[in-house]
């Protein structure tokens, strides 16, 4: 499970870490993900979800991806329903509390068609952090004594060599690929992230490959004028794709809020027959559109404007 240090170092050494342009299309970026890889997803629940990249992976018919994310929402349903993933590692999995428990998640996990591997929220964050730091584990004081830890093989309990206290050791997680969506980055991948950071910085530094989608590509000059605003450095990034509204129907901090109407429809459509409902949704919103703009067109310009108005309101104060 945990990568050997020499393997991690060799994979990192082999990457092109030079300052070079890496702008490409969603489809080109999708080719950078191989079947069977571990894909870490940035953002959390309905926020800064790299939805356009997930949309592209589903359209490219990827298979057997292991997917990890702090908290999984509708994108998890769709990764199961599309057959792209049968194994998701997360701490909480449902569309969002106001919509109740995800019927799609329930259907795929309760029938054994797919696996929901549950870790505590902080333990997932600390596993990415250990991976980002280049150490094989991180000590933690939670999880002990719980059923959650009881179902996880890859844990160790130790007595602290300094204090004698009981501690849990969490294995480092170095994903094959990380998918991150940001408000802006330059053509090299230097990224600025406004508002909530979630686990994105640790995920990006831990991963062996980073595919970054961005609302806008800005100049490297602008990055260099405020280097203390850079959250992810260029040499950790392998692909940059400019995708306006790349998190829709989820939110992107300060730019647009969730498309609530659409999310209500989705919940309704997957309530009675989750498998068929999700299939129809995928057909309509994922397979049918010829590109991302057509997908946004299906969401509806009125809804785009409404989500944008609400999103920008964070800066009204």
């Amino acid at each position: 499970m945990t990568q050997s240090y020499l393997e991690l170092r060799e994979r990192t050494r082999a990457r092109d870490r030079s300052l070079h342009e890496k702008v490409m299309s969603l489809d080109e970026a999708a080719c950078r993900v191989a079947d069977g890889e571990h894909v870490a997803v940035g953002g959390c629940t309905l926020s800064r979800t790299p939805m356009a990249m997930i949309w592209a992976l589903i359209r490219a018919h990827k298979r057997d991806l292991t997917v990890s994310r702090s908290i999984v929402s509708t994108e998890g349903d769709l990764l199961f329903a599309s057959g792209v993933s049968e194994h998701i590692l997360t701490s909480w999995f449902s569309q969002g509390i106001v919509w109740g428990i995800s019927k799609v998640m329930r259907h795929y996990t309760e029938t054994g068609k797919a696996r929901f591997e549950e870790w505590s929220h902080m333990s997932i964050g600390l596993r990415y952090r250990a991976g980002a730091m280049g150490v094989p584990f991180m000590p933690v004081r939670s999880m002990m004594g719980s059923g959650v830890a009881g179902r996880l093989a890859d844990l160790r309990e130790i007595d602290c060599p300094f204090t004698g206290e009981k501690l849990m050791l969490l294995p480092a997680l170095n994903p094959d690929v990380a998918l991150i969506h940001v408000q802006r980055c330059d053509a090299y991948g230097n990224a600025q992230i406004d508002g909530l950071q979630f686990m994105d910085m640790d995920i990006a530094m831990a991963a062996n490959r980073v595919i970054m989608t961005t609302e806008r590509i800005i100049s490297n000059d602008r990055i260099r004028r405020a280097p203390d605003q850079t959250k992810i450095p260029f040499f950790a990034v392998d692909a940059v794709v400019e995708v306006p509204y790349g998190s829709a129907p989820h939110e992107c901090y300060g730019m647009y809020e969730p498309f609530f109407g659409h999310l209500d429809e989705y919940a309704e459509a997957t309530k009675r027959d989750p498998e068929a409902g999700a299939r129809e949704y995928l057909e309509r919103y994922y397979a049918a559109p010829k590109d991302w703009s057509e997908y946004l067109d299906l969401l509806g310009i009125e809804n785009v404007l409404d989500a944008t108005r609400r999103g920008r309101s964070i800066y009204d104060d």
């Binding site: 929220h121 909530l196 950071q197 939110e251 901090y253």
Partner: protein, 256 residues
Amino acid sequence: MTEAPDFTASELLAVMSGRLLEDGQVVFAGVGIPLLAATLAQRHHAPGLTILFEGGTLGPFVVPGELPPSTNEQRCTRRANMLLSITDVLLLLQRGYVDVGFMGGAQIDKHGNLNSSFIGDADAPSVRLPGSGGGNDISSLTQMIVAMKHEKRRFVERVDFVTSPGYLDGGASRSDAGLITGGMYRVVTDLAILGFDEETRRMKVEALHPGVTPDDVQANTGFEVLIDTGVAVTEPPRASELAVLRELDPERLYTS
């Protein structure tokens, strides 16, 4: 209680649990009733209450009528003092900056263990629940307040699965497992406020809500609940408290 204003069970939960939060405390609140109750306390009697959200928000003022769908959207960050990464905001619990954790619950047992993962056998569950989220971390690392509906199917002898540890098997079993801080402090329901016996760590009634009898509580609890004779009775929700609640959640998003 005829002179008392009408309220829903959820509103009762929000008011009663909000009263447990004191000015100057740092509370780590989950979405739903906890978020609402903490915001109520902040508006009503604890203006200096510092709220933390799992998404990475420190010290916000949630805007009335703009309740977030989870604790991870920008609506949680209005007027916040600081935004942190998820890992760093959860680490504040481990470092000890948090006074109380505050969550909802799906299923709880007599030792305060919470289950939000599986109904039935974890290997072949009848219902796969959404899971821990930060619940396991919060309940492992700080004093907890849980707000939940008081139903026999939710208050069980032993939870099907320990997602968020309470006192585990009671007695010293929690600290023996390595959880040497925190623990279940109060469980707030629509019938009563419950705590835990210092010795056995078994659930006991601390106070009954107006018009509720010990038998009502026992009848809705799946295990023998401890209750002293002459136990205290809570003060019913005030009009001022309900007014704030309804201003915060006009669409009854959390309090239907």
